[in-house]
Point group: C3
Chain length 230, copies 3
């Protein structure tokens, strides 16, 4: 499971069924749950938790599965201190996950992405390649984010217009879709199911209640189209 080409601190807790490839560095007090796969050259900083199963205390709207499969961290990716990755996640190569970010089960993140500190990503969300999400964003469940997207700090996304009043409706609960090259300003708030088109720009602090056309610039509360291309 470990070999001599790795550097793994003595305090790392490695549960059963963990695969650690060559050249991996793991710092102190990291916990690797079953199903964790760390590819070549991955570095995991102190206090990270990888492969944790989601749990419910009797009050969760969405039901959980009994198994979520493996959590794979791609080659040369870096987990900063305090990162939490749930079970069934796939992270690409050369990804940087910032301090204390947390990613829920069944998410898929491409290569060359940056996920900011304290950013929380919910279940079953897909993110493309070369996308940067800054600190303290909320990425909701069942959301799709394309390639080369930029999200400023504290961008908020949601997936449930009923605010929890209709239970968990698998068809009705949909996060926004952010297409390739879109740029979302800091602290923008994007409502459920909203589509932000390719290379669109959303101004800082906007509340986005309508779809945004490809290449358009929108801003304000609620956001209005300021220009059609940029």
């Amino acid at each position: 499971m470990k070999n001599c080409s790795n550097s793994i601190a003595k305090t790392v807790i490695i549960h059963d069924n963990v695969i650690i490839e060559d050249g991996v560095i793991i710092h102190d007090y990291v916990v690797l749950y079953p199903g964790t796969i760390l590819k070549k050259g991955v570095e995991v900083f102190d206090h990270c938790v990888i492969g944790k199963m989601p749990v419910a205390s009797g009050n969760l709207a969405r039901s959980l599965k009994s198994s979520y499969g493996q959590t794979t961290v791609g080659e040369n990716s870096i987990l900063c201190p305090g990162v939490i990755l749930y079970a069934g996640i796939e992270i690409g190569d050369h990804v940087l996950l910032g301090d204390h970010c947390s990613i829920r089960e069944e998410c898929k993140i491409g290569s060359n992405c940056i996920i900011g500190r304290s950013t929380n990503i919910n279940y079953a969300t897909t993110i493309g390649n070369d996308t940067k999400i800054m600190d303290s964003c909320i990425i909701t469940g069942n959301m799709t984010i394309g390639n080369h997207v930029f999200m400023g700090a504290n961008v908020i996304t949601t997936n449930d217009n009923s605010m929890g009043r209709n239970g968990y409706d698998e068809g009705g609960i949909r996060g926004p879709v952010i297409h390739d090259g879109a740029r979302i300003g800091a602290a923008a708030n994007i409502l459920p199911s909203i589509v932000v088109g390719e290379n669109a720009v959303v101004g800082a602090g906007s509340v986005v209640t309508k779809h945004v056309a490809a290449g358009a610039l929108v801003m304000g509360v609620p956001a209005k189209e300021v220009s059609k291309s940029n």
Copy 2:
């Protein structure tokens, strides 16, 4: 203090005066400070810190007590990785506390609640039963939240209109009061002392500067009443 029906990782730090009931599971690198009580069936994930005394470095407006009593986590409640609970807290049964959330001294949280990841709750706040608070909310001190309330992600609440300029005035520092069944949209900002009535709805991204009547729907910056019942 421990008995054979528990499953407690060897790396758990248990200070004096800790009570752990039957069927409790505690994962790695958890720290339990004096006065911690974990009721039957509680599960505490990696890196949690429970029962920590609040501290001051000479610059805190509000003075701290020399003792805050016990911190009780109710039956079958779950603390996800990195949760921090201060001293003198009472948590009900079947509560789920998300990754990295932090709850300050003297808070009381009912049963069947969910508190989201990275949500920070301040001192002496009371939350009822069956209430759900999503990720990255700020719940201020001296605030009251009822039963069956829903708060979307990144809801912000405050308790001091002077923004720190008048020192700590025990009578004047009051957080909002959110009555039973209210739903607060994501990234809404609720000002000090504001009352949100029973079953009221606050739209996402609103800045709430006036009391909200029971059953009313408000939205906007500043929030205005859109309908009287919903």
Copy 3:
């Protein structure tokens, strides 16, 4: 490196080249990286990480240095659980750093400051004395904050109007400048390079797109001047 007047938990990881002065208390599972200096009377709570080098996974706009020098925590300062301090940071005396806050390389923070829980501070930012920054704020890189400033919870600041599209331009990437005595309301959003004058007040939830004169009160989205002095 340690002496008998300190209280250092057995689980603390102390790398080479760490200086711990008299009267320091370090709780469990703390990691001290090379170059850490803890002055007299500092208290470090569980799971903190101090002196970590910044890292890149191939996708960072700004290039990193090979060395950042020491990270000094001033006398009687307190680090709450889960704080992360990068390399090359200077923290003054009597500073309180809240749970899970993270401060990037080359920041300088004065004395008697409070930094809230989950607040993320970026690289090379300077903060004066007696300043209070509440929970879950985003303090951007290359930003200057004066003395006696108050920032409410979830204040957002940014430093790049291009949202990542022009690479890292050392001259063009500037955070806001907040002068002495300014008060920034909760969830305000302050755009790149904006100057907030001495003793100015920014209302809660404002989006600040223009400079704010000394002593002025601004509010709204976008923020407008409501009064010239207060």
